[in-house]
Amino acid sequence: MAAAILVLQFMLKQQVNFMIHSFKIHGTNMVLDVMSGAVHQFDDIAYDVLGCYERNGVLNNDKIKNLSQYKEAEINEAIEEIEYLKKKNMLFTEDPYTEMLPAWTKQTVVKALCLHIAHDCNLRCSYCFAGTGEYMGRRSLMSLEVGKRAIDFLIENSGNRRNLEVDFFGGEPLMNFEVVKRIVEYARVRENKTGKNFRFTITTNVMLLDEDKQNYINENMHNVVLSLDGRKEVNDAVRKRIDGTGSYDRILPLAKKMAEERGEQQYYIRGTFTRKNLDFGADVLHMADLGFEQISVEPVVAAKDSGLDIREEDLDTVCNEYERLAKEYVERRKNGQWFNFFHFMIDLEGGPCIAKRMRGCGSGTEYLAVTPEGELYPCHQFVGHEEFLLGNIYDGLNQNTVREAFRETNVYTKPRCSSCWAKFYCSGGCAANAWKFNNDIRIPYEIECELEKKRVECALWIKAQESN
């Protein structure tokens, strides 16, 4: 392993020492210095001059001669400014991270669990990756005994980590809400004794929400994810009740009340878009019009040729939609109609450290999913796929070598990621998507990559607009 990392470090030093990404959105020239995270807005002269630099940051004087449309003095000013940024490590910055790889890829602890409180659901959504709640198994609910043992397992396997996360997931967790409450109570007692700090989240389709559940969630859950796909006709075409009728009218008033009572913070109204609504920006804006301020609408993860999956031929349409949404987003936020779109959020100054950015979500290592029977999987997306079974909460983690593969996977060990400019923003993408589409957690799902790159570009452009 150590030898492999040394070889990798050598290869990386030869290949990807310097990296910038330049792009245009809505007539604005943006430049990202990948290794430092510095972001710049260039005027047309500087942008064209930058195009005369080689990948290693050296100016190509022959190319400069072709910029006859600009005055020599202007070109020289631009060169001077680019060279200044190079000296300040804000452009063509060399990769300083490869030497830190061994420390950042060492064995880690478990710090988050996704508890599958209910392998059952009261909706029959067309795109459900969980087989409408069953996860390729039988419909079942997690017992309190399994839930309590899962809390103990997390504490026992979390080493010195103080902050631990538990997400109540399904299926639909409100179908087993009494157990949710008892697990929270148990964890609060255990955290007092162990010095841990539990943060709970719940992901719900809202259908069974009532005042008591809402109050409990608002008092006890750090975050709540409420599912709604946007416009009524879009939502009801895919998020159907068991009798085939739509869910929008039931969800909307309950979700609105929940969001308002949480002070429009620490929640997301979360939708999924498919190739049936590639104009998903309209769904984002619909939810903003309804008054929701924390919005996430994400591309579906559906089987190839399911009729819902986003395809290569859809990419231009989807990317254009992100750009259109970004423009409207800036306008609305400027004009007192503020809302937050999850995939345009980017914290350039206080975001996660580089070690976190290299490793991503932590599935299979720091983050595990627990089934109602107490089985452990790398994340909720892998549940039911036996080759990814990592043990159970009673006997602990097994010797499944797939866990080692998850631990070794990062943006430097994945060939496509190591040479990608967006690697420190997506952190290598979703392992489950990689496996589902490429049968290998180290080969990212290309459509996801293209969409993520466009979202990052939009997010950087938005930062530039809002800094003006």
């Binding site: 400014e81 910055t93 996704c114 100054e349 976190k356 923003y425």
Partner: protein, 46 residues
């Protein structure tokens, strides 16, 4: 500068020896259950 406006200075390569404490939130649990986004997360040390 006349031609270039810096929106954000270098941030990723600061304090890299202190990186990796692991106390931050697991990235898929805030809102995304199907698509990774980590760049919007907060560092617990800041």
């Amino acid at each position: 500068m006349k031609h270039i406006k810096t929106i954000n200075k270098s941030t990723l390569n600061k304090d890299i020896k202190k990186a990796g404490c692991g106390e931050c939130q697991t990235s898929c649990q805030s809102a995304c259950k199907t698509s990774c986004t980590v760049a919007n997360q907060e560092c617990e040390r800041k």
